[in-house]
Symmetry: C2
Subunit: 252 residues, 2 copies
């Protein structure tokens, strides 16, 4: 087994009964590694970098969950163990190199080692989201998956000027509603990356096949490193999201 | 429980070790009802109609599975209990009316009744497909989901002239390869219905998020009612599918 009984399950659900139409998701919430994987051959300093998780995203999502009274599903383990926004086919699912850093513990994984990560990290997380959405559907309740991410300012030596990315693939409704809601911040649709970069896996898995509105929110991580920034951004995001929810009206 | 221990599990997998890149799927294989649902208030004659299952599809798929040495995953229960090509959100998942026939046993289902069907028919079937694809991915083996369906010639009083439909959503590769392969038959892309009609759910759930080639094959059911027609169509389909497989080359 990859995870022992004393380690947390891959999916953590907070505020499951929250009555917001938004279902918050944070797949890159944590830099925790399954004990048996050690540090994957990385230094502790590397495990604190953006390659291991989305800095500031989990706490921003937790605050936003409170402000919206929205459920939040977080992944307990680092994306270096398994990146839950990538399918098992993708090289980035269990990356041998992340940005420019080789990940020794991901090199030449056997099929069995890959399947252990798929079956104990990726699948339980996706199953928790699917079950949550099934439950909402059976009760005729709306569900709009919104994932909270952060990105690094300096990537492969280049600076990114975008501060807030609103990413979508098959449904632009929520992104279009929000794009003018952050005056003074460099807000872009499908930047600093988008569907063609393979980053919409989770939304394509859960939102598109169910024809749900969706949004992937990417905040530049220097803006939400501090608790103050996390508070500010959760507040800033909550206002247009609540306005969008108000536009939906009653379901059925 | 919806299904008793003496009833078959929702997914049935045949020829799991088959080495074809194609992974055959037949979600409307059977008109069997879970015992506890009885006939959903329908006559036995109605349960033999296309509203309950895709006439001829399962047997055509079984023969094709042998000809291609391809795995085949079939659903054991009628689409009137749960239509595995629809998400739980869709009205067609547990239809109150199918074509023009009211389905009394699907009327005003409680959330609990819906969830029992989702959890015991829909999810185990989708999970079996997902696990199969995960296994292929971990072993660096190709997987091209191909689902086998049939459609009725007379629908809501109108005759359909199309005989073979090649349906796709996000990837046209296989459909385009096959479209000229059936001389003498009225073959159409995304007919008699297509992505806008919500019929690509299963492919959008399994193929699109993994960036897999895919194809949904729809054969007019008068052509595959008989065993002879099933044999002919399985043979007819196997040839261009094998030619397509040969174009793929080695993975990685």
């Amino acid at each position: 087994m990859l995870l022992s009984k004393t380690e947390p399950a891959a999916p953590q659900t907070i505020n499951a009964e929250g009555n917001s139409p938004f279902v918050l998701i944070c797949e890159h919430a944590s830099n925790r590694m399954p004990e048996v994987l050690g540090n994957l051959g990385l230094s502790a300093a590397d495990l604190d970098r953006h390659i291991a998780y989305d800095i500031g995203a989990a706490n921003t999502a937790r605050i936003l969950s409170k402000l919206l009274n929205a459920p939040l599903i977080l992944q307990s383990y680092s994306r270096l163990a398994y990146d839950c926004n990538r399918p098992p086919e993708a090289e980035g699912a269990m990356p041998e190199i992340s940005e420019v850093t080789p990940i020794p513990g991901n090199k030449n994984l056997s099929a069995e080692a890959k399947l252990a990560r798929v079956n104990q990290i990726y699948r339980p997380f996706q199953n928790a989201i699917a079950a949550f959405l099934d439950h909402r559907a059976a009760h005729n309740l709306r569900a709009i998956p919104v994932s909270i991410h952060s990105f690094t300012k300096l990537y492969k030596g280049k600076e990114r000027s975008v501060e807030l990315g609103l990413l979508f693939d098959r449904d632009a409704w929520l992104a279009n509603l929000l794009v003018k809601s952050f005056p003074g911040f460099n807000t872009q649709l499908n930047e600093p990356y988008g569907p063609k970069d393979g980053v919409m896996h989770l939304m394509n898995l859960h939102a598109a096949p169910r024809a749900l509105h969706h949004l992937m929110i990417e905040i530049r991580n220097d803006l939400i490193e501090s608790e103050r920034g996390q508070q500010q951004w959760a507040q800033r995001l909550s206002i247009p999201l609540q306005q969008a929810a108000a536009k939906l009206g009653e379901k059925k």
